[in-house]
């Protein structure tokens, strides 16, 4: 049996599928059979190429030819010309809009991919437990470069010019932060890596630490050189055992090579790193709370100023940056600030890693340039909404953020636009919701999280969020009155205005943003006792259609709370007081006699 020589890869992602890619695949398969090429040519479906506006996409292997906007009618020409005659079908090749040149090879630079991996450049590429693979990818050369060729000031200047901003959520300019820490005089300084990732459903930092631990170590050493610190501390949650393990291996290997420790690369620069564990409190992502936790104290924030850059870990100047921020440092040093600042928007440079989740087909980790639109993220990278449902909203910034809606689909995503849209960048969680998601319920979900994660130090956050949650619960249970909506808004504003730290200052955002964008849903819950998404169980009623019910008693026998009564062979009735809305009756009914109101 001879080996297959050609592969025809047909994209069956959502967008291409709508453009008849399944028919294309079918045509190819038939043609291969008809022409007797089965032993040499194979047609197969693949996932999305992320190039949807030019779909359907067909890729030929092994020569990597990339055909765009293919129709079912093009199949025989591709077989005849490309496979039998060995000639590319020029008219189906992608034409670069800039150079007007036809691009035949999928590896060509002209294919602007929606995703650019800077922070994730080594993730899924190198073996994270082998420092040699990192070094082979020019690892530690950025550190070598700054130690041998650049002054701390010049290095900070590069970071400042690059426009890199903190990836932990706040978006503070990284270079400026370094400069401030450098300017403080002290006998001891620290650099800290904030790896206390806590947004529900977000795991950007974990992936970097697990996939490329050395980049964090290297960047921390560069930070130490710039700020005048000789000690680094990684604050990582204990729930990340694999990340901890790989960090430890990486630190050991780096020390053996002398890339951490005394006299690094013969330059006289000393720097070493230790790990401190967090117990997984969301508030410990706030830098003052993080520092208190590292000191062994209760993880709660203190009023800033003083900022950690003046008085941080054990009262010493401390520069705190997030994992993803660090992962951007070595490439910026190696490739220069101009390269980095060419990516992104005017005030938000580079890329951002997002953990794409929710009602989306391709749930996963993506790294996209700042300025990409939500539409591109959802439909081209994320492969669209699951089950062909309609997009309703996307939550960015986790429990601190807000909802982006249809009207924001074409807004370029960057720090400032997200804030203007009532949300925030956050650390990179992005949860996509469809028409089956209740927006009041979503706000309640996030508030439940905040109530749990508030440290309890300041009254508005400790009690206010609890009261917000309780009011939302009242609404979703159908017990609220119109006045509650005003209270909800006023309380949200006061909590934002008076809370001590970022947690409380942002926790009402999901409420405010859902009220701004979906006020009609709130009104429906309050006035009509109705949840259009059908999420709020208290507002649902399971009812039996008397005409359809034959009185088989199956529903009554399966009801866990004996809420269904009725004689045999007669229509049954559900006691709404007793019903817990589990849906068991509807599932069991064979006569479509039960429906949800």
């Amino acid at each position: 049996m001879g080996k297959i020589k050609y592969h025809i890869l047909v994209c069956v992602g959502t967008a291409c599928q709508t453009a008849k890619s399944e028919e294309i695949l079918k045509n190819f398969k038939e043609l291969i059979k008809v022409k007797g090429l089965e032993t040499e040519v194979q047609a197969i479906q693949t996932g999305c190429f992320g190039f949807c506006e030019n779909g359907p996409i067909v890729k030929m292997m092994p020569d990597n030819t990339f055909y765009t906007k293919v129709t079912p009618e093009d199949c025989s020409e591709i077989i005849d010309e490309h496979i039998i005659n060995g000639k590319k079908v020029d008219r189906l090749l992608y034409v670069s809009p800039e150079t007007k040149e036809s691009i035949g090879d999928s590896r060509h630079k002209g294919f602007h991919k929606k995703q650019i991996r800077i922070a994730l450049r080594n993730c899924g590429f190198i073996n994270p437990e082998n420092i040699d693979e990192y070094i082979a990818r020019y690892g530690y050369q950025a550190l070598g470069k700054v130690l041998t060729e650049l002054t701390p000031e010049a290095t900070i200047e590069i970071i400042k010019k690059s426009g890199l901003r903190g990836r932990g959520g706040g978006g503070f300019p990284t270079g400026l932060k370094w400069e401030i820490t450098r300017a403080v005089t002290s006998d001891k300084k620290y650099v800290v890596c904030n790896a206390d990732e806590g947004d529900p459903g977000a795991f950007m930092d974990r992936s970097v630490l697990e996939g490329d631990p050395h980049t964090v170590l290297e960047a921390m050493a560069i930070n130490g050189y710039c700020t005048g610190a000789d000690q680094g501390v990684i604050y990582i949650r204990a729930e990340y055992p694999l990340a901890v393990e790989r960090l430890k291996i990486a630190m050991k290997q780096a020390r053996e090579y002398g890339l951490l420790g005394k006299d690094i690369l013969g330059t006289g620069f000393n720097f070493d790193i230790e790990i401190r564990y967090g117990a997984g409190a969301f508030v410990c992502g706030e830098e003052t709370a993080l520092i208190h936790s590292m000191e062994g104290l209760r993880g709660e924030p203190t009023v800033k100023p003083p900022f950690p850059s003046e008085s941080g870990f054990f009262g010493k100047p401390t520069n705190v940056n997030n994992v993803e921020t660090y992962a951007n440092i070595p490439p910026i040093i190696m490739k220069g600030s101009d390269w980095f600042s060419a990516i992104g928007t005017e005030k938000s440079k580079g890329t951002k890693v997002f953990a794409l989740a929710g009602k989306i087909n391709n749930v996963g980790l993506i790294e996209v340039p700042m300025g990409i639109t939500l539409r591109e993220v959802i439909y081209e990278i994320g492969g669209g909404i699951r089950n062909g449902r309609k997009f309703k909203a996307a939550q960015t910034g986790g429990p601190s953020g807000g909802m982006l809606t249809e009207k924001h689909l074409d807004t370029p995503i960057d720090y400032d636009n997200l804030i203007a849209a009532g949300s925030m960048m956050g650390s990179g969680g992005m949860i996509v919701m469809d028409e089956d998601d209740c927006m009041v319920g979503m706000a309640k979900f996030y508030l439940e999280f905040t109530v749990e994660e508030s440290c309890g130090k300041c009254s508005p956050c400790r009690i206010g969020n609890k009261r917000l949650f309780e009011t939302l619960e009242k609404i979703t249970q159908g017990h609220a009155i119109a006045e509650d909506l005003d209270k909800l808004r006023n309380l949200s504003n006061v909590i934002k205005d008076t809370s001590l730290c970022g947690l409380g200052q942002t926790s009402p955002n999901p409420v405010l943003s859902s009220m701004d964008n979906f006020y009609h849903e709130y009104l429906e819950h309050v006035h009509n006792k109705k949840c259009r998404a059908g999420n709020c169980k208290s507002l649902m009623q399971y009812l039996i259609i008397a005409e359809n019910c034959i009185g088989c008693t199956l529903c009554a026998r399966n009801c866990p709370v004996d809420a269904i009564a009725g004689e045999r062979k007669q229509a049954h009735l559900i006691d709404q007081e007793k019903c817990i809305k589990c849906g068991a009756c509807m599932e069991k009914c064979k006569f479509n006699a039960i429906f949800i109101n």
């Binding site: 009023v303 009254s459 609890k466 009261r467 001590l500």
Partner: protein, 590 residues
């Protein structure tokens, strides 16, 4: 000093750099309301976690409201302390706090003294718009302090006192979010914790979350029992503070009115703990001289410095924290506990009263005294030497309960013999007072010369740790003084390390000494109150005809008639004690 100019509510003000908005506003007479913020200025005690958010103000150009208590002024700052936005936020925050607070004002021990109640009044809260769950915790009653933390508002003052000032570490914030509260480790009973019952947490708590165990009902019952002879003793610091409870200015001395009130309450004998304080000096001063002479003779076994032992909070502290130093403090009992056996075994026997029929009540500025009088070693066949210890506040309450118009009472004298005292005894209530009293006696006993100037000004004041070298006829005596257990810890650690240069150290658990005790009328963070009480006691000393303990004629008679001499066998039996290692088992649950 760099000065900063700013405007608050339209008024220009110039203050030193690093001043907070709160302090800057107070300079120009604008009193921004606060709740968690707390300060005892002259004692270097400050609590400003920025937690309650009542003191928020609007600062032009700032995104959110700023907490005035922990935001420093900046050049050109424009502050508005009562804009609509501020007033709405401040009231909403208070309503939130109240929504998680039991509405028990009618029966709350703190009612009338509660800062949360005052704040609700001040801000005109008429309803609580937020209904919802209230955080509920277990009520914890210890021998001296009740924790009803349903009423805790997380101001963290008690935590600051317990950890930063006292370094006791019994209380800290536990739990997260809505259930966050100040509690003991693992929410164990306070009795199982390293708590010393110093009561400083109670004295700073703005609400009724921390209060003393009230024994006044037991005292009322005893007074009503015709079979009992009820004897009362009053600690020095009480007379300098009791008047505050009746609207008198801090520092008013109400010794005579207090005696009159006690008599009207029905106590059979109104005696003075000051008498026992003079007795303490005789015993403790003799012990100091004994150790000193043996030391000077070259005895290497002798333990120096000697530490005073009249403060029960302090005794609890070293039993918990320095069990290895238990042979360093004086073995002399505290004045309260010296009084008990003298009353029951000497005075009572003289009158033919069986000790079971005698009830000894003490009026103390202190909560640890409540625990002290319950200690097993201070009981004879289960009968305590001192039956009940009431705080100054409880006494005030008793007087009000008995419809006594305190301010119009005549001044009356204590009963004899256990009511007579010297000026040396009354200054026991001030930090440095015990050691000053001891030095007055020790000097004369050691040198055999008359002490011309009895005031040792170098031992007075409110500095955290003080030291002085006194000239005992050519022999330099090094004295150390600490008030507040955190300061005590520093001196103790020196002793532990063998670095201490002192011959004698006086330690009082409460900042300021007993005048700042946990059982005193609430000072609400005004350190002037404490200073005025201290001055009052020195005034009382100044006006006493006899100012040295060993010259108290009733003390002389007591030794002649009953005890023999200081440190005699009888003295040891009745007036001295021993200590227990409490370091282990602190964290063991029952």
């Amino acid at each position: 000093m760099e000065m900063v100019k700013l405007t608050i509510d339209g008024k220009p003000v110039e203050v030193e750099k690093d001043t907070t908005i709160l302090k800057a506003a107070r300079i120009i007479g604008i009193d921004i309301p606060t709740l968690c913020y707390f300060q005892l200025k002259d004692l270097d005690i400050e609590n400003r976690p920025g937690g309650c958010r009542i003191c928020v103000v609007e600062v032009s150009g700032r995104r959110n409201l700023a907490p005035a208590c922990c935001t420093n002024v900046t050049q050109g700052m424009v502050v508005n302390t009562h804009s609509i936005r501020v007033l709405n936020a401040r009231r909403t925050v208070l309503e939130l706090i109240l929504s998680d607070h039991p509405a028990e004002c009618l029966t709350c021990a703190k009612s009338g003294n509660c800062e949360l109640q005052t704040m609700a009044q001040q801000l005109g809260v008429r309803e609580i718009p937020f209904q919802g769950e209230q955080s509920k915790y277990r009520k914890d009653t210890s021998p001296a302090i009740i924790r009803d933390v349903d009423k805790c508002i997380m101001c963290r003052r008690c935590e600051m006192m317990c950890n930063d000032v006292q370094t006791v570490g019994a209380l800290s914030a536990v739990n997260r979010g809505f259930m966050a509260v100040v509690a003991t480790a693992f929410e164990m009973n306070l009795e199982k914790s390293p708590c010393t019952y110093c009561g400083q947490c109670v004295s700073v708590c703005p609400t009724g979350a921390l209060t003393e165990v009230d024994h006044s009902r037991n005292v009322i019952n005893a007074l009503a029992d015709p079979a009992k002879t009820v004897v009362v003793q009053t600690a020095p610091a009480v007379r300098a503070a009791l008047g505050e409870e009746f609207g008198l200015a801090p520092g008013a001395l109400v010794t005579g009115k207090m005696v009159a009130a006690l008599r009207r309450l029905g106590f059979n004998y109104v005696f003075d703990t000051d008498f026992a304080a003079d007795l303490t000096i005789m015993e403790e001063g003799s012990e100091l001289l004994d150790r000193l002479t043996r030391y000077l003779k070259g005895d290497k076994e002798v333990k120096l410095p000697i530490l005073t032992s009249c403060c029960p909070g302090w005794v609890n502290f070293f039993e918990h924290n320095f069990p290895d130093l238990m042979d360093v403090p004086s073995t002399a009992k505290s004045p309260q506990q010296m009084f008990g056996p003298i009353a029951k075994e000497y005075f009572g026997k003289k009158l033919g009263i069986d000790r079971k029929n005698m009830i000894v009540v003490s009026i103390m500025p202190c909560l640890a005294k409540k625990y002290e009088c319950q200690r097993d070693e201070f009981k004879v066949n289960g009968d305590p030497d001192v039956n009940f210890s009431l705080s100054t506040r409880e006494l005030a309450h008793l007087i009000k309960l008995a419809n006594i118009d305190f301010n119009s009472l005549p001044d009356e004298d204590f009963d004899n013999p256990l009511g007579a005292s010297t000026g040396a005894a009354v200054i026991f209530g001030n930090t440095g007072g015990v050691i000053e009293a001891a030095c007055r006696t020790a000097y004369e006993l050691y040198t055999g010369k008359k002490l011309e100037k009895v005031e040792f000004n170098e031992l007075r004041g409110l500095e955290n740790i003080r030291h002085a070298t006194l000239d005992f006829n050519g022999l330099p005596i090094n004295i150390g003084i600490a008030h507040g257990l955190g300061n005590a810890r520093k001196l103790l650690e020196d002793v532990q390390a063998g670095k201490s240069q002192f011959h004698a150290i006086e330690i009082m658990a409460c900042p300021g000494g007993c005048i700042g005790g946990g059982g005193q009328p609430f000072h609400h963070g005004d350190s002037d109150v404490i200073k005025k009480r201290a001055a009052a006691l020195y005034r009382e000393d100044d006006g006493k005809p006899i100012r040295k303990s060993h010259e108290n004629p009733f003390i002389i008679e007591l030794y002649k008639e009953f005890l023999g001499k200081p440190l005699s066998e009888k003295s040891h039996h009745l007036l001295h004690t021993h200590y227990f290692d409490k370091s282990a088992g602190t964290f063991v649950e029952e």
